[in-house]
């Protein structure tokens, strides 16, 4: 199913994420209280990457292995020329961008405008065999405790799943069994792609700053499947974000071919490398022998013993083999024998479980198991930008998928609810900030949807969300941030990850006067003002009006779309473009332009001193970590 299927390629290398972090602190959005220090490094300033460009790039990635329909695979380029080829991003347009939906929801970052290419390098030239556009989709299953010995964003890990569209194939590709099998299976002209990102370096003084490790898988997309998650066999920790031995949420697929594929790439904890590991910085933590199998005592919880009589093994997970994450993509595959198939449909399913062998001959314990009753509910899209630009209610939709033991649940009863007011989100700066932290999630009345709905025969339901303008509840931040939880009736919240909610940015209908907008963007995206256009300076805005008009009228999936944060409502965008088109008729503004041009040039020495003084500030624990802590406090009502 999607990338998690027999025909797949695995690639690995590095990714770069270079977001501007000034907007990690919601209180920086208040232009009235903004001070230049908020553009410097440090948790009392612009956090860990104030001059970020927003870029997201794949770099130094190569194909490690390819897998075929019959279950075999190779990592030998002589057997399949795709092995060893490079996976690269755009080579004739700007890089993709990584974007949060809102400063008060930083846990569902999306990649916009990225192009992915499979190419063979030949000396000083290259041949692109295949390229596609990466559809924007948020990461999922983010967790912060993956790497032992580290804290903060450097210890975090997440999975991005999406599709590559608008595929472009080279006219004469080399003979490759993999490419043939892949092309035969593609539906709707899309490929499925999954990235797992970890080992990120967020210290600007550190080698590898803004880079991290990526393990990727590409397979054929299949019609009818979600594009941004696998609606399959869901393993969930019993409580919180990770199991007793620090394994987090993961998904598997057991298809009609009786092959079980488990994607553990994001799920297993890591520790600094052992001497035997030559490439990766981190290796999976030894957890004993890990065996996946059917739990014959379906109510046995995590941590309980599982052995003869209560557990039917399917196979041992080779997680400690060198290259499991990077060369095999963290995917373990098992062909079920007939006795194993007996416990996995069609007349009934036993929950799957991963069991960890214990030393000293003690009984193996359940490390992590499938959700209670095998229930899993997914939502796509997971992140919505809703724009009631004409003051009329608008309807946005998201599709819910209900499965049980990987099978769609026809006519499942689904329940959805707003989380309601959330206080204290999106803040973490130390030092005194005068702006108040807005409450998120209110007014609840701005969103309307049924509390329950029934899936159709295919186990999916379209949730219609009627939205009206929230009327600027957050003051200095546009619109409002909402969370919606979803589940099948009877499903426990613990079966869902802590950030596994639908996140909505509901925009305001009325544009406010636009000059503050430019000032706000200039504050929050300092690289713009420092290097390109000084957005708070009327003369600079006037000089670059053509460039701004161009950038503000691009499609949201264009890598050069402005604002990079993609949080501009349609009403404001239309107002800005109209204003730019008629800028010379804004006499008050043009007076400011004349005044700015007539002013004496800045004293050189003073400007230089400011430029040179990029102080280090205090070490930060990371943007996402800080956000998650604020969220936890908010949920605890602290």
């Amino acid at each position: 199913m999607s990338y998690l299927n027999s025909v797949r390629l695995v690639f690995a290398g590095q990714f770069q994420a270079d977001p501007s972090t000034v907007n990690n602190e919601v209180r920086h959005f208040d232009s009235e209280y903004f001070v230049p220090k908020y553009q410097d490094y440090g948790m009392d300033g612009g956090w860990w990457n104030p001059n970020g460009s927003g870029a997201f790039r794949l770099t130094q990635c190569s194909v490690r292995s390819v897998y075929y329909a019959d279950g075999t695979s190779t990592d030998d380029p002589a057997k399949d020329p795709v092995v060893g080829m490079r996976v690269l991003d755009a080579n004739s347009r700007s890089a993709g961008k990584i974007v949060d939906i809102d400063p008060q929801w930083q846990l569902a970052s999306q990649i916009f405008g990225m192009q992915v290419r499979l190419a063979r390098i030949d000396g000083d030239s290259a041949k692109t065999l295949l390229s596609g556009q990466y559809a924007a989709a948020p990461f999922r299953d983010l967790w912060f405790s993956r790497i032992s010995g580290l804290s903060g964003d450097g210890a975090a890990s997440a999975a991005f799943q999406s599709v590559l569209t608008d595929l472009d194939w080279a006219a004469e590709p080399p003979a490759s069994r993999f490419l043939t099998e892949l092309r035969d299976r593609i539906q709707e002209g899309k490929l499925s792609i999954r990235l797992v990102t970890y080992a990120y370096k967020d210290d600007h003084a550190q080698s590898g700053f803004t880079f991290g490790t990526v393990s990727g898988v590409i397979g054929p997309y299949r019609s009818g499947e979600p594009t941004s998650f696998v609606a399959g066999r869901r393993f969930a920790p019993q409580f919180g974000g990770a199991s007793w031995n620090n394994i987090t949420f993961l998904t598997g697929v057991l298809g009609d071919d009786k092959r079980l594929l488990l994607d553990l790439c994001n799920a297993l904890p890591l520790e600094p490398r052992s001497k035997s590991s030559t490439e990766s910085e981190y290796d999976p933590v030894p957890l004993g022998t890990l065996t996946v199998g059917s739990l014959l005592t379906p109510s046995s919880p995590e941590g309980a013993p599982a052995g003869l009589g209560s557990f039917q093994p399917i196979g041992e997970i080779p997680y400690q083999e060198p290259g499991f994450l990077l060369n095999a993509g963290g995917i373990a595959a098992f062909d079920l024998t007939r006795p194993m198939q007996a416990n996995q449909g069609p007349n009934g399913f036993a929950p799957l479980a991963i069991v960890a062998g214990q030393p000293c001959g003690c009984p193996a314990l359940i490390a992590i198991r499938e959700t209670p009753d095998g229930l899993f509910t997914g939502a796509e899209p997971f992140v919505l930008r809703i724009d009631p630009h004409n003051k009329e209610p608008v309807t946005a939709t998201t599709k819910l998928y209900a499965t049980q033991y990987g099978q769609r649940v026809s006519f499942a009863e689904l329940q959805v609810a707003q989380t309601g007011e959330m206080d204290g989100l999106g803040t973490g700066s130390v030092g005194v900030l005068l702006a108040p932290v807005p409450a998120a999630g209110i007014p609840m009345s701005a969103l309307n949807f049924p509390a329950s709905l029934a899936a159709g025969p295919d186990g999916t339901a379209v949730l219609q969300i009627q939205a009206t303008p929230p009327n600027n509840p957050r003051g200095y931040v546009d619109g409002q941030l909402y969370n919606i939880t979803y589940q099948q009736a009877g499903q426990a919240r613990s079966a869902f990850g802590p950030f596994e909610v639908i996140a909505i940015h509901l925009r305001d209908a009325y544009p406010v006067p636009e000059k503050p907008i430019f000032t706000q963007y200039g504050n929050l995206y300092p690289i713009m003002s420092k290097r390109l256009v000084r957005l708070a300076d009327p003369a600079s805005v006037y000089e670059h009006r053509n460039l701004l008009t161009l950038a503000f009228s691009l499609d949201i999936d264009d890598p050069n779309y402005m604002p990079v944060t993609r949080d501009l409502s349609q009403g404001k965008q239309a107002t800005i473009l109209k204003w730019l088109a008629a800028i010379e008729q804004d006499t008050a503004f043009m007076a400011l332009v004349s005044a700015a041009l007539a002013a004496a040039p800045a004293a050189q020495g003073e400007a230089a001193a400011t430029a040179a003084a990029q102080g280090d500030g205090e070490a930060s624990e990371g943007g996402k970590t800080t956000f998650a802590r604020a969220l936890a406090r908010s949920r605890a009502g602290v």
Partner: protein, 369 residues
């Protein structure tokens, strides 16, 4: 200081003669392709000098270099339009399109002027930039006498004059190119500077823009927009003042305008003639220079696409130039090396960013020019 004839860029012997011997449009392809390559070749050195100026310092000098870079991109585009107009095919996305730095400029005699990548300095401006842009008849707007037009050497100005003459001679018949390949984009370049080249008249006008923006004319150092030609703009940095009309002088102009202050102490001491191999592999400098090379190669690809029948991609190319600036400013020139210098972009072709070889349409790229 007087710059003599030997210190200008000298075109290899034979080139002008071969232009004059051209009997058809295709006979001119290699020379116009060479012009595209030449106009590009000054961009990395000028960009490096621009990147070496710290934010907020040496603002006037920064503005001068930036505006010259923008015009060189315009000149590249004009030359590409000319080549497309006579049904040639500009080739931009190849490793040999980028000169080796330090080295001679395209078409230049090998033992002549060498151009490298270096941080901004008055010496660089005077000894390199002004020599690149040296007019056929430079006007000396000071006390010193005017240059004589002594000329057994071929200059760039004469090169373009020869192209103009041959186009006139060969006439309208050579303009067989597809007019939809002409690049225009009023957002970046006004219509009187970048316009479609479709016939002898427009071709001559287009080349004249390259000439007058670069070197002005003997009578007038200002281009039609009233801005001094490149040579004189660079001279403003040396003289420390803007060149303005001055009826009190015999020449009609003098460096008596607004101050152009230049403080060399504020310049970032960049690694000269930077190469990726100069940097330690695990360093941030290495990662930054590598990314800058990738982005720069992508920019050349976008320009190639633009000149290859997709004129609407010019803005993508310019967006990549901005992206290059961000990468250089934030990931390269802020990395100090053990030597005390700072990392600099190396403008090396990056194979990973290479685009697929042209299929079908022949390329006008010829190695010899």
């Amino acid at each position: 200081m007087t710059l003599s004839a030997q210190h200008r860029m000298t075109v290899k012997p034979g080139i002008i003669a071969r232009i004059r011997a051209a009997k058809s449009g295709p006979d001119l392809y290699e020379f116009i392709q060479a012009a595209v390559k030449l106009e590009h070749a000054t961009i990395p050195p000028y960009l490096t000098a621009w990147f070496s100026l710290r934010r907020g310092t040496n603002l006037a000098a920064a503005e001068i270099v930036r505006s010259v870079v923008k015009q060189e991109m315009l000149h590249m585009t004009i030359a590409a339009n000319l080549l497309n107009a006579i049904d040639g095919t500009p080739g931009i996305n190849r490793p040999d399109f980028i000169p080796t730095y330090p080295g001679p400029l395209p078409m230049s005699v090998d033992d002549g002027m060498q151009v490298g990548l270096a941080p901004m300095s008055k010496a660089l401006v005077e000894n390199v930039f002004m020599r690149i842009e040296l007019p056929e008849h430079p006007q000396d707007y000071k006390v010193l006498a005017q240059q004589a037009a002594a000329d057994q050497y071929g200059t760039i100005g004469q090169f373009y004059d020869a192209i103009i003459a041959q186009i006139r001679s060969l006439g309208e018949a050579i303009f067989t190119g597809d007019p939809t390949r002409q690049v225009v984009d009023p957002v970046w370049f006004p219509a009187d500077q970048l316009f479609p080249v479709t016939n002898v008249e427009s071709a001559v006008a287009a080349i004249e823009i390259i000439k007058t923006q670069g070197e002005g004319t003997p009578a007038d150092p200002l281009n039609p927009s009233g801005v001094p030609a490149h040579y004189y703009r660079f001279q403003e940095i040396i003289k420390g003042r803007r060149l303005v009309a001055d009826p009190s002088t015999r020449e009609g102009y003098s460096f008596s305008g607004a101050l152009v202050p230049f403080d060399e102490k504020m310049v970032i001491p960049l690694q000269e003639n930077s190469k990726l191999a100069d940097y330690e592999r695990s360093s941030l400098a290495y990662a930054g220079v590598r990314q800058a090379n990738y982005t720069y190669t992508a920019m050349l690809n976008a320009l190639h696409d633009t000149f290859d029948g997709h004129p609407d991609r010019l803005r993508t190319a310019i967006a990549l130039m901005y992206e290059l600036k961000l990468v250089v400013d934030e990931k390269v020139t802020n990395q100090q090396l053990d030597s005390g210098k700072f990392a600099a972009p190396s403008f090396e072709f990056t194979p990973e960013a290479a685009t697929n070889p042209l299929l079908g349409r022949r390329s006008s790229v010829v190695v010899s020019a």
